[in-house]
Symmetry: C2
């Protein structure tokens, strides 16, 4: 393993997007400093305000490694994975891994926007009716569509892992997303999960990994909560719609753009 003196910069108090990077670092056993939780917000804000050298990040999380300042979660994981044997060596595998990570990122944005459909500059309490409407579409249409995609990837690969025959960073990320969805939308996930047995088994397999178990038991692991990406608001996780309500759907269309 190369010298790994990583600094992770992310908001404190929520797992959020930073957790995808933390999971990779923890699974790899790579030494890192969780800067904000160690030294407060000052150093992170200095980077965001352009007061430090290197590439300017738009938003956390970002990783500092030597002179490199690397932002965008998927970009950071793509940088870390080959350095810590978290992805196979072939170009094809790495391209596919990154594609899956970006698709998980899209799902994360949609899961987040369920509670923030009008914008991140307003509190959830100021967009509750809109959130309820978006939640219905998310749990009935988008969530099953995304999860069945990952189920298909597992089925086509005929492996216990998403890529190749060993655990990669994509399995860690899929674990985190599914765990977040289970936290936020337990009822919807209860309805969808029976159709995605391979994905459920993958999540259990990752969860039971020895090194991750040690991490999960440590204070470094942050619990999901109502400040983060995945929030449990029972009103956004409705019980199964009745047949009458179902037939009332109007204006459905095929997504294009």
């Amino acid at each position: 393993m190369p010298k790994a003196n990583y600094e992770l910069h992310y908001w404190p108090g929520i797992p959020g997007r930073g957790e995808f990077i933390r999971l990779a670092l923890e699974y790899a056993g790579a030494p890192y400093v969780d800067v904000v939780r160690t030294a407060g917000l000052g150093p992170m804000m200095a980077y965001l305000e352009g007061k430090r050298g290197g590439m300017l990040p738009f938003a956390p999380p970002f990783l500092v490694h030597g002179k490199l300042v690397i932002a965008q979660t998927a970009n950071v994981l793509q940088y870390l994975a080959p350095r810590h044997d978290l992805v196979p060596k072939s170009d094809a595998s790495r391209i596919f891994a990154h594609q899956l990570q970006l698709t998980l990122s899209d799902l994360v944005v949609e899961a987040h926007d369920v509670h923030h459909p009008i914008g991140v500059d307003f509190y959830y309490e100021d967009q509750k009716p809109e959130a309820k409407r978006r939640a219905k579409d998310f749990v009935e249409e988008r969530l099953p569509k995304f999860l069945s995609y990952f189920e298909s990837v597992l089925e086509r690969g005929a492996s216990r892992y998403l890529i190749g025959n060993r655990l990669t960073y994509i399995d860690l990320s899929a674990f985190q997303v599914v765990s977040g969805l289970q936290y936020a939308f337990p009822r919807a996930m209860g309805r969808v999960s029976p159709a995605t047995p391979r994905l459920s088994a993958l999540v259990d397999r990752v969860a039971g990994h020895e090194r991750l178990q040690a991490y999960f038991g440590s204070p470094r692991r942050l619990a999901f909560n109502e400040q983060g990406l995945f929030r449990h608001y029972p009103e956004l996780d409705p019980p199964e719609p009745t047949a009458a309500k179902r037939s009332g759907a109007r204006g459905r269309k095929i997504r294009q753009s």
Copy 2:
């Protein structure tokens, strides 16, 4: 240049996300087939439905090159750029280029969600009040924040281009995003642009490039329209708020997740 027998698969009739890939291919002078516009939806749907080999795409656009099936716009661009001299050779430059592309992708999602805040499964007409509310936040807060970030990148780089001293695929993508925003939000862009002179100059520089001019004059280039990512709905591009309306903002917060 390596043999470049590329197939681009994307929805017809809209520039959308496919246009970022088309711009790179056109600027590079790389031979490609725009499959759906040549052969109809059949071949694309076969890939999406898992009836073809290779990596399963979640959604268009995707690129087929030999045995590789590469989805996710930023992933495709990252694959094409080094093959066609559209990005510098250093790792640091490529990481930063990808970071900027992913940040542009985030902006594109937010611009799209202005007209689809409740979900992509409903028509705009079924979410107009919500869209109007989201539009206000987008044009007043998010748009200036994103564009001033790219202005800062240009300022720090002290170059006429976003990365290094030559045009890269990121400049093409930034051009496309800014052009789309000018189409969709002419009033808001009129207010923001004076604060981003370097970005405006970059967009003009890209627009005037000889090879792109030939492309823009061809039937291969698709115009923005109200089926795509960037839509011009005047009601979502409000005139400048009055001082009284401005002071009425409530519930503003610092973004965290």
